[in-house]
Protein backbone atom coordinates (compact mmCIF):
# COMPACT_ATOMS: atom_id res chain seq x y z
CA UNK A 1 0.00 0.00 0.00
CA UNK A 2 1.33 3.45 -0.92
CA UNK A 3 1.93 5.75 2.05
CA UNK A 4 -0.34 8.81 2.04
CA UNK A 5 0.74 12.28 3.20
CA UNK A 6 -1.00 15.61 3.73
CA UNK A 7 0.24 18.59 1.76
CA UNK A 8 -1.68 21.88 1.93
CA UNK A 9 -4.77 22.49 4.07
CA UNK A 10 -7.18 25.40 3.98
CA UNK A 11 -10.38 26.56 5.60
CA UNK A 12 -12.79 29.49 5.41
CA UNK A 13 -14.11 31.30 8.42
CA UNK A 14 -17.26 29.45 9.52
CA UNK A 15 -20.52 31.22 10.29
CA UNK A 16 -23.30 32.93 8.41
CA UNK A 17 -21.63 33.66 5.07
CA UNK A 18 -23.15 35.56 2.18
CA UNK A 19 -21.05 33.82 -0.52
CA UNK A 20 -22.23 30.77 -2.48
CA UNK A 21 -21.04 27.30 -1.47
CA UNK A 22 -18.77 27.05 -4.52
CA UNK A 23 -17.22 30.44 -3.66
CA UNK A 24 -16.53 29.19 -0.11
CA UNK A 25 -14.93 26.02 -1.49
CA UNK A 26 -12.82 28.14 -3.83
CA UNK A 27 -11.68 30.25 -0.87
CA UNK A 28 -10.60 27.10 1.02
CA UNK A 29 -8.90 25.76 -2.13
CA UNK A 30 -6.90 28.97 -2.61
CA UNK A 31 -5.88 28.76 1.06
CA UNK A 32 -4.74 25.11 0.70
CA UNK A 33 -2.84 25.65 -2.57
CA UNK A 34 -1.38 28.98 -1.36
CA UNK A 35 -2.72 30.34 -4.63
CA UNK A 36 -0.19 28.26 -6.62
CA UNK A 37 -1.47 26.58 -9.77
CA UNK A 38 -1.53 22.83 -9.21
CA UNK A 39 -2.76 19.76 -11.05
CA UNK A 40 -4.75 17.05 -9.32
CA UNK A 41 -5.49 13.49 -10.38
CA UNK A 42 -8.97 13.75 -8.86
CA UNK A 43 -11.30 15.83 -6.66
CA UNK A 44 -13.32 14.37 -3.78
CA UNK A 45 -16.09 16.70 -2.62
CA UNK A 46 -17.69 16.07 0.78
CA UNK A 47 -21.10 17.71 0.97
CA UNK A 48 -24.20 16.34 2.66
CA UNK A 49 -27.12 17.93 0.94
CA UNK A 50 -26.49 20.62 -1.69
CA UNK A 51 -29.74 19.57 -3.38
CA UNK A 52 -31.86 20.87 -0.52
CA UNK A 53 -29.64 23.48 1.15
CA UNK A 54 -28.48 25.38 -1.94
CA UNK A 55 -30.62 23.87 -4.71
CA UNK A 56 -27.80 22.37 -6.78
CA UNK A 57 -27.18 18.75 -7.71
CA UNK A 58 -24.32 17.37 -9.84
CA UNK A 59 -22.23 19.29 -7.34
CA UNK A 60 -18.92 17.48 -8.06
CA UNK A 61 -18.97 18.72 -11.67
CA UNK A 62 -20.05 22.19 -10.58
CA UNK A 63 -16.99 22.39 -8.30
CA UNK A 64 -14.49 21.11 -10.90
CA UNK A 65 -15.92 23.67 -13.31
CA UNK A 66 -15.90 26.50 -10.75
CA UNK A 67 -12.28 25.83 -9.77
CA UNK A 68 -11.17 25.62 -13.40
CA UNK A 69 -9.91 22.06 -13.00
CA UNK A 70 -11.02 21.10 -16.50
CA UNK A 71 -11.25 17.35 -17.21
CA UNK A 72 -10.25 16.38 -13.65
CA UNK A 73 -12.31 13.45 -12.28
CA UNK A 74 -14.62 14.71 -9.55
CA UNK A 75 -17.02 12.88 -7.26
CA UNK A 76 -19.28 13.99 -4.41
CA UNK A 77 -19.40 11.97 -1.21
CA UNK A 78 -22.52 12.24 0.95
CA UNK A 79 -22.09 10.53 4.28
CA UNK A 80 -24.45 12.65 6.35
CA UNK A 81 -22.51 14.93 8.76
CA UNK A 82 -19.50 12.64 8.24
CA UNK A 83 -19.26 13.67 4.57
CA UNK A 84 -16.01 15.62 5.09
CA UNK A 85 -14.15 12.72 6.66
CA UNK A 86 -15.72 10.25 4.21
CA UNK A 87 -14.43 12.31 1.26
CA UNK A 88 -11.01 12.34 2.95
CA UNK A 89 -11.24 8.56 3.45
CA UNK A 90 -12.10 7.87 -0.19
CA UNK A 91 -9.33 10.23 -1.35
CA UNK A 92 -6.93 8.38 0.98
CA UNK A 93 -7.91 5.03 -0.60
CA UNK A 94 -7.33 6.42 -4.10
CA UNK A 95 -3.73 7.40 -3.26
CA UNK A 96 -3.03 4.39 -1.00
CA UNK A 97 -4.05 2.07 -3.85
CA UNK A 98 -1.50 3.67 -6.17
CA UNK A 99 -4.24 4.69 -8.60
CA UNK A 100 -3.69 8.42 -8.03
CA UNK A 101 -0.65 10.34 -6.81
CA UNK A 102 -2.12 13.66 -5.77
CA UNK A 103 -5.74 14.48 -5.04
CA UNK A 104 -7.80 17.40 -3.76
CA UNK A 105 -10.36 16.93 -1.00
CA UNK A 106 -12.96 19.66 -0.58
CA UNK A 107 -15.79 19.74 1.91
CA UNK A 108 -18.45 22.25 2.76
CA UNK A 109 -22.05 23.09 3.43
CA UNK A 110 -24.14 26.22 3.24
CA UNK A 111 -27.05 25.93 5.66
CA UNK A 112 -27.93 29.43 6.79
CA UNK A 113 -30.20 30.23 3.83
CA UNK A 114 -33.24 28.72 5.57
CA UNK A 115 -34.86 29.50 8.93
CA UNK A 116 -34.03 27.00 11.71
CA UNK A 117 -37.37 25.15 11.38
CA UNK A 118 -36.64 24.23 7.74
CA UNK A 119 -32.97 23.40 8.43
CA UNK A 120 -34.18 21.20 11.32
CA UNK A 121 -36.58 19.40 8.98
CA UNK A 122 -33.79 18.77 6.43
CA UNK A 123 -31.44 17.51 9.16
CA UNK A 124 -34.17 15.32 10.69
CA UNK A 125 -34.22 13.23 7.50
CA UNK A 126 -31.01 11.65 8.83
CA UNK A 127 -33.20 9.89 11.40
CA UNK A 128 -35.01 6.57 10.86
CA UNK A 129 -38.48 7.22 9.42
CA UNK A 130 -40.45 5.67 12.30
CA UNK A 131 -38.48 7.67 14.87
CA UNK A 132 -38.71 10.84 12.75
CA UNK A 133 -42.50 10.46 12.56
CA UNK A 134 -42.73 10.72 16.37
CA UNK A 135 -41.39 14.27 15.94
CA UNK A 136 -37.87 13.28 17.01
CA UNK A 137 -35.10 15.61 15.91
CA UNK A 138 -31.33 15.30 16.28
CA UNK A 139 -31.41 17.39 19.51
CA UNK A 140 -34.28 15.19 20.79
CA UNK A 141 -32.22 12.01 20.35
CA UNK A 142 -29.22 13.72 21.98
CA UNK A 143 -31.49 14.78 24.86
CA UNK A 144 -32.60 11.16 25.40
CA UNK A 145 -28.94 10.13 25.63
CA UNK A 146 -28.12 13.06 27.92
CA UNK A 147 -30.97 12.30 30.31
CA UNK A 148 -29.90 8.66 30.63
CA UNK A 149 -26.21 9.57 31.06
CA UNK A 150 -27.15 12.08 33.83
CA UNK A 151 -29.15 9.32 35.54
CA UNK A 152 -26.48 6.59 35.24
CA UNK A 153 -23.38 8.66 36.06
CA UNK A 154 -24.76 11.48 38.25
CA UNK A 155 -23.83 14.12 35.68
CA UNK A 156 -25.30 17.48 36.72
CA UNK A 157 -26.74 20.06 34.35
CA UNK A 158 -24.02 22.55 35.38
CA UNK A 159 -21.23 20.02 34.74
CA UNK A 160 -22.63 19.32 31.27
CA UNK A 161 -22.45 23.05 30.47
CA UNK A 162 -18.69 23.02 31.12
CA UNK A 163 -18.22 21.21 27.78
CA UNK A 164 -19.55 24.26 25.93
CA UNK A 165 -17.66 26.69 28.20
CA UNK A 166 -14.38 24.91 27.39
CA UNK A 167 -14.99 24.78 23.64
CA UNK A 168 -16.10 28.41 23.45
CA UNK A 169 -12.88 29.36 25.24
CA UNK A 170 -10.87 27.44 22.61
CA UNK A 171 -12.95 29.12 19.91
CA UNK A 172 -11.76 32.55 21.10
CA UNK A 173 -8.28 31.47 19.97
CA UNK A 174 -9.40 30.25 16.53
CA UNK A 175 -9.74 32.98 13.88
CA UNK A 176 -11.83 30.63 11.70
CA UNK A 177 -14.39 29.84 14.44
CA UNK A 178 -18.00 31.03 14.08
CA UNK A 179 -18.09 31.98 17.79
CA UNK A 180 -15.00 33.66 19.21
CA UNK A 181 -16.57 34.68 22.50
CA UNK A 182 -16.37 33.17 25.99
CA UNK A 183 -19.64 31.91 27.45
CA UNK A 184 -20.48 31.03 31.06
CA UNK A 185 -22.45 28.20 32.65
CA UNK A 186 -25.09 30.80 33.46
CA UNK A 187 -25.35 31.87 29.78
CA UNK A 188 -25.97 28.24 28.82
CA UNK A 189 -28.56 27.62 31.55
CA UNK A 190 -30.41 30.77 30.51
CA UNK A 191 -30.44 29.94 26.78
CA UNK A 192 -33.63 28.71 25.11
CA UNK A 193 -34.73 25.16 25.93
CA UNK A 194 -34.60 23.00 22.76
CA UNK A 195 -35.08 19.42 24.01
CA UNK A 196 -35.02 19.16 27.78
CA UNK A 197 -32.35 19.06 29.28
CA UNK A 198 -30.53 20.42 26.19
CA UNK A 199 -30.61 24.15 25.60
CA UNK A 200 -29.62 26.21 22.57
CA UNK A 201 -26.02 26.60 23.76
CA UNK A 202 -25.70 22.81 24.14
CA UNK A 203 -26.19 22.40 20.39
CA UNK A 204 -23.80 23.08 17.52
CA UNK A 205 -24.94 25.90 15.27
CA UNK A 206 -26.33 26.08 11.78
CA UNK A 207 -23.36 27.35 9.82
CA UNK A 208 -21.71 27.90 6.44
CA UNK A 209 -18.13 27.06 5.60
CA UNK A 210 -15.71 25.00 3.55
CA UNK A 211 -12.31 23.27 3.82
CA UNK A 212 -9.68 21.90 1.45
CA UNK A 213 -6.95 19.30 1.97
CA UNK A 214 -4.38 18.00 -0.51
CA UNK A 215 -3.33 14.35 -0.21
CA UNK A 216 -0.20 13.08 -1.94
CA UNK A 217 2.06 10.02 -2.32
CA UNK A 218 5.10 12.33 -2.07
CA UNK A 219 6.52 12.58 1.44
CA UNK A 220 5.55 15.61 3.55
CA UNK A 221 5.75 16.28 7.30
CA UNK A 222 2.29 14.78 8.09
CA UNK A 223 1.29 11.20 7.36
CA UNK A 224 -2.16 9.57 7.47
CA UNK A 225 -1.45 6.45 9.54
CA UNK A 226 -4.88 4.98 10.13
CA UNK A 227 -8.55 5.35 9.24
CA UNK A 228 -11.34 3.34 10.85
CA UNK A 229 -14.99 3.49 9.88
CA UNK A 230 -18.08 1.77 11.32
CA UNK A 231 -21.86 1.98 11.17
CA UNK A 232 -24.50 1.27 13.80
CA UNK A 233 -28.24 0.62 13.58
CA UNK A 234 -30.08 3.57 12.06
CA UNK A 235 -32.67 3.59 14.88
CA UNK A 236 -31.68 4.61 18.39
CA UNK A 237 -34.30 2.14 19.64
CA UNK A 238 -32.37 -0.79 18.12
CA UNK A 239 -29.20 -0.07 20.11
CA UNK A 240 -28.11 -1.81 23.29
CA UNK A 241 -26.49 1.16 25.04
CA UNK A 242 -27.91 4.66 25.44
CA UNK A 243 -24.77 6.14 27.01
CA UNK A 244 -22.09 4.86 24.63
CA UNK A 245 -21.87 4.57 20.85
CA UNK A 246 -20.69 1.36 19.25
CA UNK A 247 -19.90 2.98 15.87
CA UNK A 248 -17.28 5.15 17.59
CA UNK A 249 -15.80 2.23 19.54
CA UNK A 250 -15.48 0.02 16.46
CA UNK A 251 -14.21 2.80 14.14
CA UNK A 252 -11.61 3.75 16.78
CA UNK A 253 -10.50 0.15 17.25
CA UNK A 254 -10.02 -0.19 13.49
CA UNK A 255 -8.09 3.11 13.22
CA UNK A 256 -5.82 2.26 16.19
CA UNK A 257 -5.08 -1.17 14.68
CA UNK A 258 -4.10 0.26 11.30
CA UNK A 259 -1.95 2.99 12.86
CA UNK A 260 -0.43 0.54 15.40
CA UNK A 261 -1.45 2.99 18.11
CA UNK A 262 -3.42 2.95 21.36
CA UNK A 263 -5.61 5.62 22.94
CA UNK A 264 -2.77 6.62 25.29
CA UNK A 265 -0.57 7.50 22.26
CA UNK A 266 -2.93 10.26 21.05
CA UNK A 267 -1.61 13.74 21.91
CA UNK A 268 -4.58 15.77 20.67
CA UNK A 269 -8.06 14.99 19.34
CA UNK A 270 -10.88 16.72 17.51
CA UNK A 271 -14.16 14.99 18.39
CA UNK A 272 -17.68 15.49 17.06
CA UNK A 273 -19.35 17.57 19.80
CA UNK A 274 -22.59 18.37 17.94
CA UNK A 275 -24.18 18.34 21.43
CA UNK A 276 -22.44 18.92 24.78
CA UNK A 277 -23.09 15.34 25.90
CA UNK A 278 -20.95 14.11 22.97
CA UNK A 279 -17.90 16.03 24.28
CA UNK A 280 -18.17 13.71 27.32
CA UNK A 281 -19.21 10.42 25.69
CA UNK A 282 -16.91 10.51 22.62
CA UNK A 283 -13.60 10.57 24.58
CA UNK A 284 -14.89 7.61 26.60
CA UNK A 285 -15.80 5.67 23.44
CA UNK A 286 -12.40 6.54 21.91
CA UNK A 287 -10.77 4.85 24.91
CA UNK A 288 -9.28 8.01 26.48
CA UNK A 289 -11.35 7.63 29.66
CA UNK A 290 -13.43 4.87 31.26
CA UNK A 291 -17.26 5.03 30.97
CA UNK A 292 -18.54 7.73 33.31
CA UNK A 293 -15.10 9.31 33.75
CA UNK A 294 -15.39 11.76 30.84
CA UNK A 295 -17.07 14.25 33.16
CA UNK A 296 -14.23 14.24 35.71
CA UNK A 297 -11.71 14.62 32.88
CA UNK A 298 -13.56 17.71 31.68
CA UNK A 299 -13.94 19.24 35.18
CA UNK A 300 -10.29 18.60 36.08
CA UNK A 301 -9.12 20.26 32.84
CA UNK A 302 -7.57 17.10 31.37
CA UNK A 303 -9.25 17.86 28.04
CA UNK A 304 -8.40 21.57 28.10
CA UNK A 305 -5.55 23.19 26.16
CA UNK A 306 -3.20 22.68 29.12
CA UNK A 307 -4.41 19.17 29.94
CA UNK A 308 -2.71 15.91 29.07
CA UNK A 309 -5.46 14.97 26.57
CA UNK A 310 -6.49 18.21 24.83
CA UNK A 311 -9.79 17.79 23.00
CA UNK A 312 -11.21 20.17 20.41
CA UNK A 313 -8.51 22.85 20.57
CA UNK A 314 -10.27 24.42 17.56
CA UNK A 315 -13.41 25.02 19.63
CA UNK A 316 -15.04 21.91 18.19
CA UNK A 317 -18.36 21.92 16.41
CA UNK A 318 -19.77 23.97 19.29
CA UNK A 319 -17.63 27.08 18.74
CA UNK A 320 -16.09 26.59 15.30
CA UNK A 321 -19.58 26.01 13.89
CA UNK A 322 -21.04 22.97 12.18
CA UNK A 323 -21.62 23.27 8.43
CA UNK A 324 -22.43 19.55 8.35
CA UNK A 325 -20.47 18.45 5.27
CA UNK A 326 -17.42 20.55 6.18
CA UNK A 327 -16.93 19.45 9.79
CA UNK A 328 -14.94 16.23 9.24
CA UNK A 329 -12.41 18.00 7.02
CA UNK A 330 -12.22 21.00 9.39
CA UNK A 331 -11.13 18.54 12.09
CA UNK A 332 -8.37 17.25 9.76
CA UNK A 333 -7.21 20.85 9.08
CA UNK A 334 -6.98 21.56 12.82
CA UNK A 335 -4.98 18.42 13.59
CA UNK A 336 -2.59 19.12 10.67
CA UNK A 337 -2.01 22.66 12.05
CA UNK A 338 -1.42 21.22 15.53
CA UNK A 339 1.13 18.71 14.15
CA UNK A 340 2.85 21.47 12.15
CA UNK A 341 2.89 23.84 15.15
CA UNK A 342 0.84 26.30 13.13
CA UNK A 343 -2.12 26.49 15.55
CA UNK A 344 -1.18 29.85 17.05
CA UNK A 345 -2.52 30.60 20.53
CA UNK A 346 -4.36 27.29 20.75
CA UNK A 347 -1.22 25.23 20.00
CA UNK A 348 -0.73 22.10 22.13
CA UNK A 349 2.31 19.78 22.10
CA UNK A 350 1.46 17.08 19.54
CA UNK A 351 3.05 14.48 17.30
CA UNK A 352 0.02 12.21 16.96
CA UNK A 353 -3.54 13.49 16.46
CA UNK A 354 -6.97 11.93 16.04
CA UNK A 355 -10.17 13.11 14.35
CA UNK A 356 -13.59 11.67 15.16
CA UNK A 357 -16.48 12.56 12.84
CA UNK A 358 -20.07 11.39 13.26
CA UNK A 359 -22.60 10.73 10.50
CA UNK A 360 -26.32 10.56 11.31
CA UNK A 361 -27.28 10.25 14.95
CA UNK A 362 -23.96 8.57 15.80
CA UNK A 363 -24.38 5.72 13.34
CA UNK A 364 -21.77 6.27 10.61
CA UNK A 365 -18.53 7.26 12.28
CA UNK A 366 -15.01 7.77 10.97
CA UNK A 367 -11.83 7.97 13.06
CA UNK A 368 -8.64 9.23 11.40
CA UNK A 369 -5.14 9.22 12.87
CA UNK A 370 -2.48 11.64 11.58
CA UNK A 371 1.16 11.77 12.65
CA UNK A 372 4.17 14.03 12.28
CA UNK A 373 6.96 12.44 10.29
Amino acid sequence: MTKVYVSGVGITKFGKRKESLQTLMYEAYVHATKNQEQEFDAIFVGCMNPDEFVGDSNFATLIADHLGLYQTPSVRIDNAPASGSAAFEQAFFSVASGHYEKVLVLAGEKMSIFPTSIATRILSKLIDKYERNTGATMPALAALVTRRYMHDYNLSREELALAAVKNHHNGTLNPYAQFQKEITVEDILKSKMIADPLRLYDCASISDGACAVILTASKTDVKVTGIGHATDFLSLQYRDSLTSFNATKVAAKRAYKRAHRQPKDIDVAEVHDAFTILEIVNPEDLGFFKPGEGVAALIEGKTGLNGDKPINPSGGLKARGHPVGATGLAQICEIVWQLREEAGKRQVPANIGLCHNIGGFVNNNIVTILESC
Binding site: A140, L144, R147, M193, A195, S235
Partner: protein
Protein backbone atom coordinates in the same frame (compact mmCIF):
# COMPACT_ATOMS: atom_id res chain seq x y z
CA UNK B 1 -47.51 -4.99 20.94
CA UNK B 2 -45.59 -6.42 17.97
CA UNK B 3 -41.89 -7.19 18.20
CA UNK B 4 -39.61 -8.97 15.73
CA UNK B 5 -37.13 -11.60 16.86
CA UNK B 6 -34.18 -13.27 15.20
CA UNK B 7 -32.29 -16.52 15.89
CA UNK B 8 -29.16 -14.35 16.43
CA UNK B 9 -30.82 -12.99 19.59
CA UNK B 10 -31.75 -9.53 18.24
CA UNK B 11 -35.22 -8.34 19.22
CA UNK B 12 -36.67 -5.07 17.91
CA UNK B 13 -39.98 -3.26 18.25
CA UNK B 14 -42.65 -3.54 15.54
CA UNK B 15 -42.67 -5.63 12.36
CA UNK B 16 -39.44 -5.97 10.43
CA UNK B 17 -38.50 -8.37 7.60
CA UNK B 18 -34.68 -8.62 7.81
CA UNK B 19 -32.69 -8.59 11.02
CA UNK B 20 -30.64 -5.35 11.28
CA UNK B 21 -27.94 -7.36 13.07
CA UNK B 22 -27.43 -10.37 10.76
CA UNK B 23 -29.76 -10.02 7.77
CA UNK B 24 -31.74 -13.21 8.45
CA UNK B 25 -35.57 -13.25 8.27
CA UNK B 26 -37.18 -12.10 11.50
CA UNK B 27 -40.28 -13.60 13.11
CA UNK B 28 -42.88 -11.08 14.32
CA UNK B 29 -44.69 -12.01 17.53
CA UNK B 30 -47.31 -10.36 19.74
CA UNK B 31 -46.38 -9.49 23.30
CA UNK B 32 -48.20 -7.65 26.07
CA UNK B 33 -48.25 -3.86 26.20
CA UNK B 34 -46.19 -3.42 29.38
CA UNK B 35 -43.42 -0.84 29.11
CA UNK B 36 -40.94 0.93 31.36
CA UNK B 37 -39.35 4.34 30.68
CA UNK B 38 -35.59 4.20 29.98
CA UNK B 39 -35.19 7.90 29.16
CA UNK B 40 -37.28 10.89 28.08
CA UNK B 41 -37.27 14.44 26.78
CA UNK B 42 -39.68 17.30 26.25
CA UNK B 43 -39.08 18.69 22.79
CA UNK B 44 -39.77 22.42 22.41
CA UNK B 45 -38.21 23.09 18.99
CA UNK B 46 -40.14 20.78 16.71
CA UNK B 47 -39.81 20.14 12.97
CA UNK B 48 -42.19 21.83 10.56
CA UNK B 49 -45.61 20.22 10.77
CA UNK B 50 -45.44 19.29 14.49
CA UNK B 51 -46.91 21.11 17.47
CA UNK B 52 -44.71 21.89 20.50
CA UNK B 53 -44.17 20.61 23.09
CA UNK B 54 -43.74 16.89 22.32
CA UNK B 55 -43.18 14.50 25.25
CA UNK B 56 -40.93 11.71 23.96
CA UNK B 57 -40.02 8.53 25.82
CA UNK B 58 -37.79 5.62 24.93
CA UNK B 59 -39.30 2.62 26.68
CA UNK B 60 -38.31 -0.99 27.20
CA UNK B 61 -40.95 -3.51 26.17
CA UNK B 62 -41.32 -7.11 27.34
CA UNK B 63 -38.30 -9.25 26.38
CA UNK B 64 -36.06 -6.19 26.05
CA UNK B 65 -37.07 -4.55 22.74
CA UNK B 66 -37.09 -0.75 22.89
CA UNK B 67 -39.62 1.70 21.44
CA UNK B 68 -39.48 5.45 20.93
CA UNK B 69 -42.94 6.99 21.22
CA UNK B 70 -44.89 9.93 22.53
CA UNK B 71 -45.90 10.07 26.17
CA UNK B 72 -49.53 10.97 26.99
CA UNK B 73 -48.87 12.81 30.25
CA UNK B 74 -46.00 15.03 31.26
CA UNK B 75 -46.26 13.50 34.78
CA UNK B 76 -45.12 10.14 33.40
CA UNK B 77 -41.73 11.53 32.28
CA UNK B 78 -39.57 9.66 34.77
CA UNK B 79 -36.86 7.03 34.32
CA UNK B 80 -38.19 3.71 35.63
CA UNK B 81 -41.86 4.75 35.30
CA UNK B 82 -44.00 1.69 34.52
CA UNK B 83 -46.95 1.78 32.16
CA UNK B 84 -48.50 0.49 28.96
CA UNK B 85 -48.29 1.20 25.26
CA UNK B 86 -51.61 2.29 23.79
CA UNK B 87 -52.28 2.62 20.07
CA UNK B 88 -54.41 5.46 18.72
CA UNK B 89 -54.80 6.27 15.02
CA UNK B 90 -51.92 3.86 14.26
CA UNK B 91 -49.62 5.84 16.56
CA UNK B 92 -48.00 4.45 19.70
CA UNK B 93 -48.24 6.25 23.05
CA UNK B 94 -46.89 5.52 26.52
CA UNK B 95 -49.38 5.81 29.36
CA UNK B 96 -48.14 5.45 32.95
CA UNK B 97 -49.90 3.05 35.34
CA UNK B 98 -52.04 4.62 38.06
CA UNK B 99 -49.73 5.62 40.91
Amino acid sequence: MQVSTCTCGKIVALHREQCPNCGKSMITIDLGNDAIVLTYTTLYTVPEGFKAPIFLVLVELEQGAKLLCECKNENDLEIGRKGKIVIENEKYYFLGNTK
